[in-house]
Every structure is written in structure tokens, then in C-alpha cells.
Symmetry: C2
Subunit: 333 residues, 2 copies
């Protein structure tokens, strides 16, 4: 067995850390290459989809199983009623100060009873914090709910208000003293409904804390300098982090798995939307005999299951779909 | 709202299907590009890892949560005892008749009490069936278990025997009549243990049925011809598939989620192994005070939890690890 004294282990760690940075470079190159190749195809797809009513509602219905618990029957109903389009853009793909892993998700809606917004767009920035965390952060999106139709019972409003108040806060001031902070934290703590609407996801901020662009650039610079030292075989001084940051940032996080939900949509549902749309059509064929029963269930949301195909008026077998290729036991690749 | 008669819907379907093929081309190009860029890094990583005892056992322990339920405490013990290396190769990356999505997983073991094999290598081929399915298929790997040490209680042996018998079967003959078929199907049906060893995964065949290279090439040819027609705007005759194939191939599938387990290891654990190894070290620091208790649990496998860090003799805080960078609340990116 190889010698594995502490010094030896530490040396291997330094080598692995340097190598991790090279892997990250390759990952970013690969994302850029894939984005470049896919861009014209996504454009073409959007043109075809624009002619297909309820495309995205059907895709969300048939979407990856990991998403199921985040989309309530009442959310599915909103999608079926008015979701017009979805567009995902890697808006920092060529920005040297940004990150190709950042993306935005733009939902377009037709006139509806729930909210006044035609567009709800949420931005996710891939950032690094000075204390070693990295991941996706976002800002709460204001949803202009119509009276008595707020599916989040005030959560998106409260999160947006805290976000606005935070921006006016002097640097270094403690946000936990803000009335907007207390209000949101209480709202989350006292929430009796374990079922969170998908629309609360628009209020998502971070799985750790919000990291600014400035902090992220500083962190990237620090990491690059450390990497240079490692490449030269120099020892990197890892200061013990100042662990006086006692704030529990998650106290005001409305949608704790928001980054993972965004990632599943972006990395699975979005590239494979055609596959999910076809699966929805096949499920329609299989469920044909069920459609009447499920129509009756439409108003009973407590049932936990709603048939979107019924919602979008596709409960009856479509003549065309009989001609579709049979994807026997298709795999969620 | 757009006209969406059946003919209109069918026309859109044809366009989407043609577009899907273009997306698939881009996916394959991207896999090839990523493979080319990552290959030298994986080589470098293997050289560093070779000097780190128990690297892969620690990675498996800290591996993606989706894997947790597939690796029993007794499997972890085998990894800790004798797993030397893991190597994943996209062995058809440049094979025009193959698929860049195919891969092999090669496990190397030191001398141990469980089995005689130094190497267990499992191949996964990405293939398409003539009836429209596509996905990963594999062949059972023979594990030469030592007496009374078979963690799968005969499952890998029975699966391997069926595989051998199947090869000798005349073309068109019904395998369900084979005694090896009945024996395996019974073994699976009568299995009382709901906890399947990870090693049963070596017997995995398919989530649908085994598809030969020949069938896959025929299917690819058929799809390419259909695509050509679609591009010219010609109608593609979709024959209704002969649905007289009544065999339940899953009756002899030992490890039903085998393809998904392979995919999680290949697409998440393998590229992010350094991250998981570091997490294992951090967990070690956090759990330091627990290590003595967990040492006591080593023989009690019914406990459901085993501390591999204790198994590999890392229960005590390593001097070096105090100097490691603190990855505060690291994200499984």
C-alpha cells in the first residue's frame, strides 16, 4: 500500500484541486459548444411549437418525475389555461465576467384570471462566494396577482418586498432587523400548507445565500491566483474562513429546492421537450378510456391528480395520433 | 388560436420528429467533443488517484443521493475492503456502427474474501430496437463468488447461465422454455430479500429487452431513411408494429433500474469524483465525534448505515484535512 502520511494526502489534495479547475474549464467549453450547436435548433423548435396549442402545458404534465411534487394540480391548471411559451437563454454565455452556467427562464402567458403579467422571467446566475460555495442564485420575481388569485398566499409579494428593502439597506447593515425580513420569515414559518405552488419558485433566491456579481468576481480571482500557485507547486495559504457569519439565510427562502427545480427544467425538460410532448400524446392514447372519469375530477383539486390532456381539450383520441410512431416502453434518457 | 386539425397536428409531429434527429446529432457531437477534451484529464486524475488509498470507496460513500438505496452497507464494506480502481470508457466513441453513448465500467479489486475476480467489467451499449425503443442494454457479467460469499444469493450466476443458454438457442426459438429461464424467473419471484446487493447490478440486461447490434443497425437505417423522407416533406408510412411480442422480458431482469444506476455513476459520480472525495473528507471532519460509536456498529449490518470512513481507517481526524479549503454548504452541482 502506498505511503499516505498527512503530507502525502495534502499534496494529492493540491493536485486534485488544480485538476478540478481544468475539469471546470472543459465543462464551460462544452456548454459553449453545445449552446452554439443547439441554438439554431431551439429557434426552429420555437417556430414549430408556436403553432401547437398547449405544447408546454403538455410537456410540464409529462415532465421528469423529479418535478412532479413541485407542480400542484392548480399549477397545471394555470399552465393549461394560459402558458403560451417558455424560453431558456444562457445569457452570460460569452460574457467574460459571467458564467455559461447562468440562464434565464422566460414564461409567456395569455390573458388570464390569475395575474396581470404577460411575461414572468426569472434569472439564475452561477456564482461563487468568497467562503467557498458555488451555485445558482436568483432574485425574486414580482408576480402581479389578481385579487384573491394569489396561488402563493402572499409569499411572492413578501419575498419581493424584502428584496426591494434589502437593496436600500446601507452596506454592512443587518437585514434581519428589517420588518420585511421578519414578515417573510414569519410567513414561511407559519405556513400551514405543506403544498407549495410552483409559482412560489419565482421567489427563489439561493440554497445558501445571495451572492453578488462583485463577490463572485473576487472569488473567481482568488481561485485563479491559488490555481497559479498550485501549478507552480507553491503551497496555497488557506486562511481559516471567518465563521462569524451566523445568519441563517434559509429563514427567508420561500422555495428551498428552487435551484434544483430550475436545473431539472433547464437540463432535462427543455432539451427533451419534444420527447415529453410525444409521451403526453401516447399517454393520451393509453388513457383514452379514463378521460371521462378524469373530466369529472376537474373541479376537485384536492384529488391531487388532474388530467391536463382533459384540461386542454385533448381527452378524446385525436385522429392523427393513431398514426404516431409507437415508442414502446420509451426510456427517459 | 391556431388551427389545429388532425392533419395540422400530424404535420407538426413530422417536423418535430425531423428536428429531434438534428438534436440527437448535436448531442452525439457534444459527447464526442467533451470526451476528447476530458480524456487527458481523466488520465491525469487516474494517476493521482492511484496514490490515494480507498479513493473510490470514499466516492461511492459520498455519491449522489440517487444511488444511496442501491448500495447496501455490505456492498460498502466490499468497496472499502478491496475496490482498487474504477474506469469508465466510451468504447464506441469513434465507431460509425456504434454509439458515443455506449460505455464500459471497469472495476478492479485486490485479493479478497468475496470473489476470485480481479476485474469486473460491464459494458453498456446504447441501442435502438425496430419497434421504437432506445436505451442502454448490457450482458450479465460472471462473478466468480467464493463459497458462501455470494452477496446476490445466486442471482448473478443464474443470470449468467441464462445468457449462455440463450446464445446457444436456435434463431426464433422461445427462450421462456429454457430451464435457465424458469430458474432465474423463479429466483427473482421468490426472492424474499427486498434489499438487492449492488453486485446484482452486474447481471443487468435491459429495462425493456436485450437488443442486438444487428437490430440496432437496422433500426438506425430505418430511422435515417424516414428522416430523409421527412426532410423532403414526404409522408412517412408508419406501419403499425406487430404487437405479437407478448414476452415479459422483465421477468428475468435481476436489477430493474440497472441502466439508471449506470447513468448516475457515469454522468454524475465519475465526472465529479474529486468533489465527492472532498465531501467525504469534510464529512469526516464533521462526524469526528461520531467515529467511535460507528466503529462499534461495524458488525451490525442490519443497522442500515455503515461509516466507510471508519472502515477505511479514517475515523480519526487526519492532521492534513484541517488545512483543506472549507467548502461551506457545497452544492451538488
Amino acid at each position: 500500500m502506498t505511503d499516505h502520511s498527512s503530507e502525502e494526502v495534502l499534496a494529492r489534495f493540491e493536485e486534485l484541486t488544480a485538476l478540478e479547475a481544468e475539469f471546470e474549464d472543459v465543462e464551460l467549453q462544452t456548454i459553449r459548444k453545445a449552446n452554439e450547436l443547439n441554438e439554431p435548433l431551439y429557434k426552429k423548435r420555437a417556430e414549430i411549437i408556436a403553432k401547437i396549442p398547449h405544447f408546454w402545458a403538455l410537456v410540464f404534465e409529462q415532465s421528469p418525475t423529479e418535478l412532479d411534487s413541485y407542480i400542484l394540480p392548480s399549477d397545471s391548471k394555470v399552465f393549461a389555461d394560459c402558458l403560451q411559451s417558455l424560453e431558456i437563454t444562457r445569457f452570460e454565455i460569452d460574457d467574460p465576467k459571467g458564467d455559461p452556467r447562468s440562464f434565464s427562464m422566460k414564461f409567456t402567458f395569455s390573458d388570464n384570471e390569475y395575474f396581470k403579467d404577460e411575461v414572468l422571467e426569472k434569472f439564475f446566475w452561477y456564482r461563487k462566494s468568497l467562503d467557498g460555495w458555488q451555485g445558482l442564485v436568483s432574485e425574486p420575481v414580482k408576480v402581479n396577482w389578481k385579487k384573491d388569485h394569489d396561488l402563493t398566499y402572499g409569499l411572492t409579494d413578501a419575498a419581493y418586498k424584502l428584496y426591494e428593502a434589502r437593496k436600500k439597506l446601507p452596506k454592512g447593515a443587518n437585514e434581519t432587523e428589517l420588518k420585511e425580513y421578519k414578515s417573510l420569515a414569519e410567513k414561511i414559518e407559519n405556513s400551514e400548507d405543506p403544498q407549495l405552488s410552483f409559482f412560489a419558485w419565482f421567489a427563489y433566491v439561493s440554497s445558501y445565500k445571495f451572492v453578488t456579481a462583485e463577490e463572485s468576481q473576487q472569488a473567481a480571482k482568488k481561485l485563479a491566483e491559488e490555481l497559479e500557485k498550485r501549478k507552480k507547486g507553491e503551497k496555497v495559504d488557506e486562511e481559516e474562513p471567518e465563521d462569524d457569519d451566523e445568519q441563517d439565510y434559509q429563514e427567508t427562502e420561500v422555495f428551498p429546492m428552487g435551484d434544483q427545480v430550475a436545473t431539472i427544467i433547464t437540463e432535462d425538460m427543455w432539451p427533451s421537450a419534444i420527447k415529453y410532448y410525444k409521451l403526453a400524446h401516447e399517454a393520451e392514447d393509453d388513457d383514452e378510456h379514463l378521460s371521462e372519469i378524469e373530466f369529472d375530477d376537474l373541479d376537485d383539486e384536492s384529488d391531487g391528480e388532474i388530467d391536463i390532456r382533459a384540461l386542454v381539450g385533448k381527452g378524446k383520441k385525436n385522429k392523427a395520433s393513431g398514426d404516431l410512431p409507437p415508442a414502446k416502453k420509451p426510456r427517459k434518457a
